[in-house]
Subunit: 376 residues, 2 copies
């Protein structure tokens, strides 16, 4: 009925048969291959842990329906058998899962809408995440960071939620760079409703991706599960604003568990939306970042030079301590003798006599009738 | 002419004869005692390094003048021979000096105005420092922190400058706690002019202290030298606001070199006055603090319980993952069968049947004609 490769049909079935993350199923698929694993699961001929993960849905046959809906939504299925599969970053999930970190199984495939090749889109990518109830400061910062990163060729990943996520996607789009939205529901869920148009714009240049089959409704536990993909597919995660309880902090914790760089943006003390960021920084779970340059420094993988920051300087900056002390003892009006300057500065007279001409040459001191004074 | 103890006269002379910090002189005094050291310095009968430090002023005899001016200003001299000498915290300066940190000599004595005993005033004290050109946010934060600390019995040290320093002193005074101003000029210098009245208020309850003899004019290098005393006399230093170049950052660096706790307050990215704090935090020179409780935690020496912070909670917080998933699959309007819930949540049917009554008991689910729905 459908022209899809049987292995792709098997992957689509496997995506639907278990609620992600499904570590036992992932291991089972890795062992047997997608085709054989799908057959065994459908026949309930699999180990108890795999049965636990798949029992509730193993007889649900919606695969052709899934492909039809995906095609209608302009989406394709990307599987580990495809050359664009982002195998390398997703390996961090397998490694963490093997280390015993709960829920860290890799996705069995991904539904993708948009022209970006996944293997390219994850190269040196950065996640920008944060609170839905963001402040204007937070949204401004997210957009600025995303703009700056995307315009330097760094793909910006986020979760397409209201608040920080949306601002990050918009900032990246404004730079005409690549941005990727990772959803916690089906690509066709139209969620959140106010971001349907934004997702269209993202899919026009970058990608909107999900491991959930078409039609899957959004749910809080799915956002948390989705967060592991945002963390895994990027080099680092920037939390722009987060309350003390926040999905963004969950993404940050996952990124940390996966060995990725976790960054957070500070804000004013009174802002509840910065409290989560401050806690991440204080407890050393996140590096404080204040600029795109900081993000580039912290992830350290982009081969981009950190922009030079202007630092205020003073004319007396290069002076060694005794010259500084003599200079401080000079006044603008009314000269002082070298002896008086020695007494006042505590610098030995011979040294004062050596320092004064040097200060004069630097334009910091000048001779006058009554001795030496500070140059105007 | 004066009834002062000869050793105290010697200490006053030693304070005047060298511009602090004077590490060679400090070591010389430690070796010979103040009386003998003063005599040898006056006769220029001392090692070359001590001569270098004292040559410019060794014949200046102003000691009686100093005591007269100090008495007129309501000040007294506190020396290492006095029981209130804060020997223990100042030891950090000797240790750092011995380790080769430049400029870390202890003071040879201190001029003190105010009723506070120095040994008591330094107990578990905290320094609050920052930019003179502070913002309203910074001054508010400094005052709030100082108020909170001083009202818990933590003495608050600062430098009596405009901006953050002044706000910190005022906040501590408002709590009727102890605050100490450490000056980079003579106690009678009346500097800064706008804080003369503030210094009077500080001296009425706490202390205004300086190692500089009466009449010593303020100078930038003296503020930097003074900063080592603020750092040494306290358990930790909180930088509330600081530009990228700032004396407060110098105090923080000194506190770090002395093994003290360095803390910094975050602010918004656009504020130049928070840039120095952010850099301290980013480079791990300072711990981010957002509250008095954080300061107490970071210094960890006050024997004070950290105030409990309220954390937002949800009714579903205690649920284990499968119960959470079943709960997410429930809807408020229109019931669902256990079978439908199993399919939707991916939780095995037997488990769904066990979870639903538990959710009902928690008031999170309720039975209805068509199955189960989310409780109102």
């Amino acid at each position: 009925m459908t022209g899809e490769d049987p292995r792709r049909l098997a992957r689509a079935y496997l995506l639907r048969v278990a609620e992600p993350p499904a570590p036992a199923l992932a291991a089972f698929v890795a062992e047997h291959g997608a085709l054989a694993a799908a057959k065994l699961v459908r026949e309930a001929d699999c180990p108890p842990k795999v049965r636990d993960e798949t029992r509730a849905r193993h007889d649900v046959i919606l695969v052709e329906h899934d492909f039809a809906k995906a095609t209608a939504a302009g989406a394709r299925l990307v599987t580990p058998e495809d050359s664009e599969w982002p195998a390398w970053p997703l390996l961090s999930l397998s490694v963490a899962g093997d280390r015993g970190v709960a829920g860290m199984a890799p996705p069995l495939a991904l539904w993708v809408r948009g022209p970006a090749r996944l293997d390219k889109a994850v190269e040196a990518a950065v996640a920008i995440v944060g609170a839905r109830a963001a402040t204007g400061y937070g949204e401004h910062t997210a957009a600025e960071f995303a703009y700056g990163l995307a315009s330097r060729g760094v793909p910006v990943f986020s979760g397409s939620a209201y608040g920080i996520d949306g601002a990050a996607h918009r900032g990246a789009l404004a730079s005409e760079g690549i941005t990727v939205a990772v959803l916690g529901c089906g690509l066709d869920a139209g969620y959140p409703a106010g971001h349907v148009a934004l997702q269209h714009r993202i899919a026009a240049r970058g990608a909107v991706i999900s491991e959930y089959p078409p039609g899957t409704t959004p749910a809080r536990h799915r956002f948390l599960v989705r967060n592991r993909l945002i963390a895994a597919l990027t080099e680092g995660t920037v939390v722009v604003e987060a309350g003390l309880r926040s999905g963004a902090r969950n993404t940050a914790a996952t990124a940390g568990a996966l060995g990725k760089v976790v960054m957070a943006v500070p804000g004013q003390l009174g802002s509840a939306m910065s409290a989560g960021c401050h806690e991440l920084i204080r407890e050393a779970h996140a590096t404080l970042v204040t600029s795109v340059a900081d993000v580039i420094d912290a992830t350290g993988k982009f081969g981009l030079a950190r922009p030079e920051e202007a630092r205020p300087t003073r004319r007396t900056d290069g002076l060694e301590p005794s010259a500084m002390r003599v200079h401080e003892a000079l006044v603008a009006k009314g000269g002082k003798s070298a002896e008086a300057l020695a007494t006042e500065s505590g610098v030995p007279l011979a040294r004062v006599r050596a320092v004064l001409p040097a200060l004069e040459m630097d334009g910091l001191a000048e001779r006058c009738e009554s001795g030496w004074r500070r140059a105007a």
